[in-house]
């Protein structure tokens, strides 16, 4: 069984958003900075006021690596992990879709792919935006 995220904790709005094909992250009600995963206080201004906000489902690749050693049952190696910075500034680890590791580049523009892996869990993956590659 592959590792599944807990979709019921503080990040529940994020996981619910993915079911609806939205990328929702926390936005500080005071300074406006976006953040994910959830924290009660904003790390920038320490305000406790926040809301979950749908952001543009697009970003750029910052770096990547290819796992050859298996750490989890249900995830076959080799597989690629990418580090993505969403246009709103939030960083994520994810997997690329439809692009080989050899074609990845720093700054590659990507857009969200919503991957329903179970009836409850959708993962946020990324494919190159049109016109890239």
């Amino acid at each position: 069984m592959r590792p599944l995220p807990s979709v019921e904790g503080a990040d529940r709005p994020f996981w619910q958003g993915l079911r609806r094909r939205e990328v929702r992250v926390q936005r500080c009600g005071n300074c406006g900075a976006y953040r994910f995963p959830a924290t009660r206080f904003c790390p920038g201004c320490r305000s406790e006021i926040s809301e979950w906000h749908a952001v543009a489902p697009s970003g750029t690749v910052e770096t990547w690596c290819v796992f050859h050693r298996a750490y989890f049952d249900g995830l076959d190696v080799p597989y690629t992990v990418i580090q993505v910075r969403l246009d709103c500034g939030v960083r994520l680890f994810s997997n690329p879709v439809g692009v080989e590791p050899g074609a990845l580049r720093i700054g590659l523009a990507v857009e969200a792919v919503f991957d329903d892996i179970t009836p409850e869990v959708t993962l946020l993956k990324f494919k190159p935006r049109k016109g890239q590659q």
């Binding site: 770096t63 290819v66 796992f67 989890f72 993962l123």
Partner: protein, 378 residues
């Protein structure tokens, strides 16, 4: 107790390294402490400060060791804490809170089955569980991400990473205590399997059991002890912990520059005075980032710098002359500090750096430490 004008490492000790399933972390620490006390001729009763690292419980350790230090503390089993403990010990002695501080490290991770990746992964900021569904886990992968970025930005090559690993293995071949002593070629490096590409098996540190202990005291007291004192001439620390779940854009250069500047200022010397480098080598790319951040080469120039051979014994900056974490022993910075002390003592035998007046220990991580050891108090 009086404040101290200078601080010195007066005793060092370590266990055998490798698989030691009959010892737990407490016993490995106590074994090393016995060795360190014998090294300097001090006794358990002389220890008035104690900091344990990776040992699970300070109270249990003190009970087993039969000591009642006036200052005691405990630190988590992360490699960045070796430098933190040494800097703390130096500050305690300078401030007069303790006169003789024992730093004791015990690691039974090999026999205890510690894993660095997968469901129990605790690396990073609160652990990486958030990203397991995407397969992201392990400190190795974190450094693989950084290495790939360095390669893309600066043209750093696998050969350059392999040169770091190969060089340290050549050094380990001269170290009877090292776990891995058989030299290898760059072809062997390339043939070693990928763990997390671009990093091969030979880019990863060892996992083994062992213990290390250091005894620090005031420079005044150090003069009367068995070994030549090795003075803690300067130290600096800086952190980059905000947003540290992800690799830093600047390869930790900002905190490295700050820590390096503090340590060099305190030591009153410059890079050109340094004889040997001890660089925290959890993975080979960390060595490259450190050479840049601590100022031994320009930003992005570390790949060609190592390829030119500067880290080898006999070259300008012999580095990790013990073999480091990659080949000697996974003692999370402690054995590198021990090696720095032995180099400055001139006690390294075949692998001794000539006229070793100053050794520089450095660790690149979200907590950066920089320690300069010297033969003279100032």
């Amino acid at each position: 107790m009086a404040r101290a004008d200078s601080v010195a490492v007066v005793g060092v000790g370590h266990t055998r390294y490798g698989k030691l399933p009959e010892y737990d972390a407490y016993e490995l620490g106590l074994w090393a402490l016995n060795e360190a006390l014998a090294d300097c001729g001090l006794h358990f009763e002389d220890i008035d400060g104690l900091i344990v690292n990776r040992i699970p419980d300070y109270q249990r350790f003190c009970e087993i060791a039969g000591v009642n230090p006036s200052y005691v503390s405990i630190t988590p089993g992360q490699g960045r804490f070796s430098g933190i403990c040494i800097e703390t010990a130096a500050a305690l002695i300078r401030d007069g809170l303790a006169n003789t501080v024992a730093l004791v490290y015990g690691n039974n991770g090999r026999s205890g089955g510690d894993r660095y990746g997968g469901a129990g992964d605790t690396y990073g900021s609160g652990g990486g569980g958030q990203w397991f569904a995407y397969g992201m886990t392990s400190p190795g992968a974190f450094h693989a991400l950084m290495a790939r970025r360095h390669m893309e930005l600066y043209g750093t090559t696998a050969d350059q990473l392999g040169t770091v690993s190969k060089t340290f293995r050549n050094h380990a071949a001269l170290n009877p205590s090292a776990v891995m002593r058989t030299p290898f070629t760059l072809a062997d490096y390339h043939a070693s399997r990928y763990i997390c590409e671009p990093l091969h098996l030979l880019d990863y540190c060892l996992i083994n059991d062992g213990g290390v202990a250091l005894i620090l005291s005031s420079g005044a007291r150090a003069r009367d002890l068995r070994q030549p004192p090795v003075h803690v001439r300067g130290y600096g620390m800086a952190t980059q912990l905000a947003a540290s779940s992800f690799p830093p854009d600047d390869f930790w250069r900002t905190p490295m520059r700050a820590a390096a500047a503090r340590s060099f200022r305190a030591a009153g010397i410059t890079h050109s005075d340094i004889s040997t480098l001890m660089i925290y080598d959890n993975f080979t790319p960390t060595v490259l980032f450190s050479l840049e951040g601590f100022g031994y080469c320009g930003d992005g120039e570390s790949g060609p710098f190592v390829a030119e051979g500067h880290l080898a014994l006999g070259a300008r900056y012999p580095t990790n002359t013990s073999g480091g974490h990659l080949s000697e022993s996974y003692m999370q910075g402690w054995a590198l500090n021990l090696e720095a002390v032995r180099q400055v003592r001139g006690a390294c035998g075949e692998r001794q750096v000539k006229d070793c007046a100053f050794a520089h220990y450095m660790a690149a991580a979200p907590v950066v430490t920089s320690i300069i050891y010297g033969r003279q108090p100032s």
